[in-house]
């Protein structure tokens, strides 16, 4: 009985999610780039970390609640953390192309973050579908990528999972769905995820009663539930390309995917890469995520295989002592050279006027926000206020 009383109390406590303080440093269409403010400890790692979450879930899964937040942990370790908040697509985003999101938007996020951090490159991390987007971007446009982490990211779409089967053209006419709805409604997407494990909600309910005495567990549980039911619809045109090119033709693994006409071949990836897989992940099977390491050319590659499910393994207490420190250390060992170091390195071999101009430029940039970036930052803040979106 006391368990049930505790459970009822936990239901009434509304979990406060996404609490780590951040500034909006860029807005475009519905998406925003957030930069987390440094904690009391200074930023000891200069290379920014850019997080790309899934398009159909909210970004705050990586900043769930204080003490259970991936970004809070990374910030406290001295990383300069940026995250893309994809926002909520409007009806007009039915025309938004996959390539625009993957090429232009992620490219912009990398550009703005490196400029603000004063480096040439950033560490890129993609979670779930965000990992697929980031892998495609990194393969086609590696210029600003220092390292890449694919966190439970589907790469091979012809695996033995249910989603792979359901998305085959003989069972699923993606064009008809998009013609009817425009953006693919999130309840439809959520229903398909629930169908992957029809008994999942029952199991969750029983597990909840079983651990109803544990306040910490309950708070975490309801925070994840809140996130899990706060989904967004998939932009229509982007969804058609996602399903046809990836699920149906498996172009990424076959080396046939082109991003705005540029080949996005995984074997072009030469920078340090880590693939993180979860053993009980029923959304992204192990084989679908691990194939990334088999396809890339990089000599510096690592596979981290952990126990847990698709979400739990990223936000659990265990993640705070396993996954998060592993990622933080891996990034710390792979710092990008700063603007000044890079120019200095170049000038040892090049005494031409071009190198001299570069040196001046680096001095002007001084590792801080440039004029144009500063102006854009101000405009973004203004636009955010005008639209009444939360900052």
């Amino acid at each position: 009985m006391s368990r049930l009383r505790n459970l009822a109390k936990a239901v009434l406590r509304r979990p406060a999610v996404g609490q780590t303080p951040a500034d909006v440093v860029h807005t475009e269409n519905k998406w925003r780039l957030l930069r987390y403010r440094a904690s009391a400890a200074p930023r000891s790692h200069r290379t920014p970390v850019v997080l790309v979450p899934s398009l159909i879930n909210r970004h705050y899964v990586l900043d769930l609640t204080p003490g259970r937040s991936f970004v809070e942990y990374m910030r406290d370790q001295g990383h300069d953390v940026f995250i893309i908040d994809w926002g909520t697509p409007g009806p007009e985003d039915r025309y938004l192309e996959f390539d625009t999101i993957c090429d232009r938007y992620i490219g912009r996020a990398l550009r703005v973050s490196t400029r603000l951090a004063g480096t040439k490159k950033a560490h890129l991390l993609g979670y779930c579908l965000g990992g697929t987007l980031a892998a495609i971007h990194a393969a086609a446009r590696p210029e600003r990528v220092q390292s890449f982490v694919a966190l439970a990211a589907p790469i091979d779409f012809h695996d033995d999972g249910l989603l792979s089967l359901w998305m085959q053209p003989r069972f699923f006419d993606v064009n008809q769905v998009v013609r009817a709805f425009g953006n693919v409604p999130w309840p439809l997407l959520q229903a398909s995820f629930h169908m992957l494990k029809p008994t999942g909600n029952l199991v969750k309910g029983v597990g909840l009663v079983e651990r109803a005495w544990d306040d910490e567990f309950l708070d975490g549980f309801f925070a994840v539930e809140k996130w899990g039911n706060d989904n967004v619809s998939f932009p229509g045109a982007a969804y058609v390309r996602y399903i046809e090119a990836l699920y149906q033709r498996n172009e990424l693994v076959r080396g046939e995917f082109r991003l705005n006409g540029i080949p996005a071949r995984l074997d072009a990836i030469e920078f340090p890469t880590m693939a993180v897989t979860f053993r009980d992940d029923h959304i992204v099977p192990w084989s679908s995520a691990h194939v990334l390491l088999e396809k890339i050319r990089s000599a510096d590659k690592k596979h981290l295989d952990l126990r847990g499910g698709h979400v739990g393994a990223v936000v659990s207490r265990k993640a705070a002592t396993g996954l998060w420190p592993a990622l933080s250390n891996w990034w710390a060992e792979r710092e990008a050279p700063s603007e000044t170091e890079r120019v200095h390195e170049e000038s040892r071999y090049d005494s031409s006027p071009r190198a001299s101009r570069s040196r001046d430029g680096a001095r002007r940039a001084g590792g801080s926000m440039g004029d144009a970036e500063s102006r854009r930052h101000e405009r973004s803040a203004l636009r955010t206020d005008e639209l009444g979106r939360p900052g």
């Binding site: 232009r104 550009r111 006419d173 008809q176 769905v177 940039a365 144009a372």
Partner: protein, 102 residues
């Protein structure tokens, strides 16, 4: 204490049932004999919805009013324009300060 024991016994039974049911459901959800008609039904509903939307849009259009689709296209074009302006701004920034270029 008794309650805890009863729950544990019930939980063991539930786990066994869940394991069997999940395997059975997965088998069903993989069965093409079920998936093919389910897919066809979904497509039929989608076609019906698209047809009714088109009919509504034609009615609005007949009055010379912008349809929902017209408004969506215009808004999308505005968003594209914003992105292109940002692209241009980035290119200008690269010209002004080559350090920003990757």
């Amino acid at each position: 204490m008794m309650g805890r024991q009863a729950f544990d016994i019930w939980k063991k039974g539930f786990d066994a049932w869940e394991k069997e049911t999940a395997a059975l459901m997965e088998g069903l959800l993989r069965n093409p004999a079920l998936l093919a008609p389910a897919g066809k039904t979904l497509t039929l509903f989608m076609k019906a919805k698209a047809m009714s939307d088109r009919a509504a849009a034609e009615w609005w259009g007949a009055w010379g009013l912008p349809t929902k689709r017209d408004q969506e296209r215009s808004l999308h074009t505005l968003n594209e324009l914003q992105s292109r302006l940002l692209d241009l701004e980035a290119e200008l920034q690269d010209l002004k300060d080559p350090q920003t270029k990757a």
